[in-house]
């Protein structure tokens, strides 16, 4: 497209300004994280830090168990991610490749689950988890989220796109459903599986309300809850709060750097065809 030079300049100026505004809250936390306590609570606030105190990060580790929080969150997210990949791919295979009694009914049951907002089941689920004595446990944090209707759909759509001839050829070679699923379909579906993996990991890593409800003890807290509790501690100085936030958002930032493409592609597939 041929644009005039000024229009081009204006476009860049506008986009840069927008990008700066969007990035600012994150950059602000990085700046605050390395300020001295005095500078962090000074007025007028510094737009860029005039002091550099990387030892804030060490101090935050001494103050709250950030490493435990992050470790917990990683573990919980990884369990849910793995669980969702297994349950969703099994169910998606059944829907995409098999004929069985009651398929339309069960399929519409899956569709219906996507309509139910999670908050509606929150109270009974809390009571169930408490009844099982799962408060403050990894089971309590993960088991309710191991199955996903959205993920099943995403994978089913992908499975359906694979050529039918492939299955017929495998069939003639004497390949049963299980072998076909494990050794043909799954390897071919790596892009879709990757998308679901990133999506479910991020979702769990960032979840807030459920961990808030069912964890009480420090060693079981996830990082989202741990961070928001930081600011309620009276004596805490802001630079340390922000050092904690920086540590908490670092893993997701890395994930964005490496997984953006995968995420965009997969979310588009889910959004447009799901």
């Amino acid at each position: 497209m041929i644009r005039s030079r000024t229009a081009q300049m204006l476009l860049y100026a506008g986009l840069t300004l927008a990008a700066l505004l969007v990035l600012y809250p994150v950059v602000y936390s990085l700046f605050m994280a390395v300020m001295s306590p005095a500078e962090a609570s000074a007025y007028p606030p510094s737009i860029v830090p005039h002091s550099f105190h990387p030892e804030n990060f060490r101090e935050v580790f001494n103050m709250i168990p950030v490493a435990t929080f992050i470790g917990n969150t990683f573990l919980v997210s990884a369990i849910v991610m793995a669980g969702q990949l297994v349950t969703a791919s099994l169910a998606a295979y059944a829907f995409a490749q098999m004929n069985f009694k009651g398929k339309p009914l069960i399929f519409s049951l899956f569709v219906a689950t996507m309509m139910v907002p999670w908050e509606v089941t929150m109270i009974p689920n809390y009571l169930t988890v408490r009844g099982l004595d799962w408060l403050d446990t990894y089971q309590g944090l993960t088991v309710p989220f191991l199955a996903t209707a959205f993920g099943t759909f995403l994978l089913r759509q992908f499975f359906l796109q694979l050529p039918k001839e492939l299955f017929e050829a495998a069939r003639i070679d004497g390949c049963g459903h299980i072998r076909y699923f494990l050794f043909h379909m799954l390897p071919l579906s790596r892009p879709a599986l990757g998308t679901l993996a990133v999506y479910s990991f991020l979702n769990m890593y960032n979840s807030y309300l459920w961990p808030l409800l069912i964890t009480n003890s420090k060693p079981m807290r996830t990082v989202q809850i741990g961070i928001s509790m930081l600011e309620f501690q009276e004596s805490t100085s802001w630079n340390l709060v922000f050092a904690g936030i920086t540590l908490a958002i670092l893993p997701s930032l890395l994930l964005l750097v490496f997984g953006l493409k995968q995420l965009v592609r997969g979310m588009a597939a889910g959004a447009l065809k799901g």
């Binding site: 506008g14 737009i47 907002p117 964005l256 959004a271 447009l272």
Partner: protein, 303 residues
């Protein structure tokens, strides 16, 4: 005869095996949905018709008292009003902003990946961290927002403390937080529109704005529709930012639906009324979704 019978019995045993295998594959999902979705849904209905003690045990059957109390106290209508206002403040702005940015970064552009990274960034921040960051940006005296206003010669704003501006402030943060998701979805929708259509329009001498209005918008309408549905449902499910920024205050001005359910069930330990409220939320979201599919989708152009 015998051959056919044997063949059909072989086929039916094959069909039986296929059935068994299919249900085995579905069973993990079905069992989990049963325990953590279908059963709780029924239990919600049951709880909403009862009063409970603080431990969550059933105290008495109360019929529809929980519902009438909800309407009589105005709690339900207030919750709806605040949530609807919140949706009105966040959804159109969020979509418009994301659409403009996605359209501007659609074409070949130097540093395109950097812009894409910046605009998708808020998506990966959890509501927990993002809300704490914004809480400090909103700080009345030390916060950066008021400092900037001061530099521009404007009076400071009591962002989260004033009932008139609290919901607006929470919405501002929410628009920022949702930008990443909306931007990603809309840009990938734009990518799906083939370059040839644009080319032929340009050959016909159409200007950029005409192209956007006559080609981009109609072809993007399924994606816009998807973002609209997801954003509205998301607005009705907002919780984290409310809990951290305002705790529903000041004077209930930010007491959105889910926050009010949370307060009823897990702060006041009234699981019965909490469940009644949760079911009303379900109803509202269902109606909204149906309306959107019925009316809005008619205007959506599918390729």
């Amino acid at each position: 005869m015998a051959v056919r019978a044997r063949r059909s019995s072989k086929r039916s045993s094959l069909q039986l095996r296929e059935n068994v295998l299919a249900y085995t594959l579905l069973s993990p999902s079905l069992i989990l949905f049963g325990v953590f979705l279908f059963y709780p849904l029924l239990k919600s209905v049951y709880l909403s018709l009862h009063s409970t003690d603080p431990a969550g045990r059933i105290a008495a059957y109360v019929g529809f008292d929980n519902y009438t109390a909800l309407f009589a106290s105005g709690q339900f209508l207030d919750g709806i009003r605040v949530t609807a206002l919140f949706a009105l403040l966040t959804v159109p702005t969020g979509m418009l902003l994301a659409l403009v940015l996605a359209a501007l970064t659609q074409h070949r552009l130097r540093g395109k990946r950097l812009f894409q990274f910046a605009f998708s960034l808020p998506m990966v921040l959890s509501v927990g961290s993002a809300a704490v960051i914004w809480k400090f940006l909103f700080h009345p005296t030390l916060g950066m927002l008021n400092y900037m206003l001061g530099l521009a010669g404007l009076p400071p704003v009591a962002w989260l403390v004033n009932p008139d501006s609290a919901l607006l402030s929470v919405s501002l943060m929410t628009v920022w937080m949702n930008l990443g998701f909306n931007y990603i979805i809309l840009s990938s929708g734009l990518q799906g529109i083939s370059e040839e259509i644009y080319e032929s329009a340009r050959m016909d001498g159409a200007g950029a704005i005409t192209v956007f209005r006559k080609i981009t918008l109609p072809l993007l309408s399924p994606t816009l529709f998807f973002v609209l549905v997801v954003s509205i449902i998301g607005a009705f499910q907002a919780f984290g930012q409310i809990n951290i920024l305002t705790s529903g205050g000041p004077m209930n001005s930010t007491n959105v639906f889910v926050y009010s359910i949370y307060r009823e069930a897990f702060v006041n330990f009234r699981f019965g009324t909490g469940s009644a409220q949760a079911l009303m939320l379900f109803l509202v979201i269902m109606i909204l979704t149906l309306i959107q599919f019925k009316w809005v989708e008619k205007k959506v152009h599918y390729q």
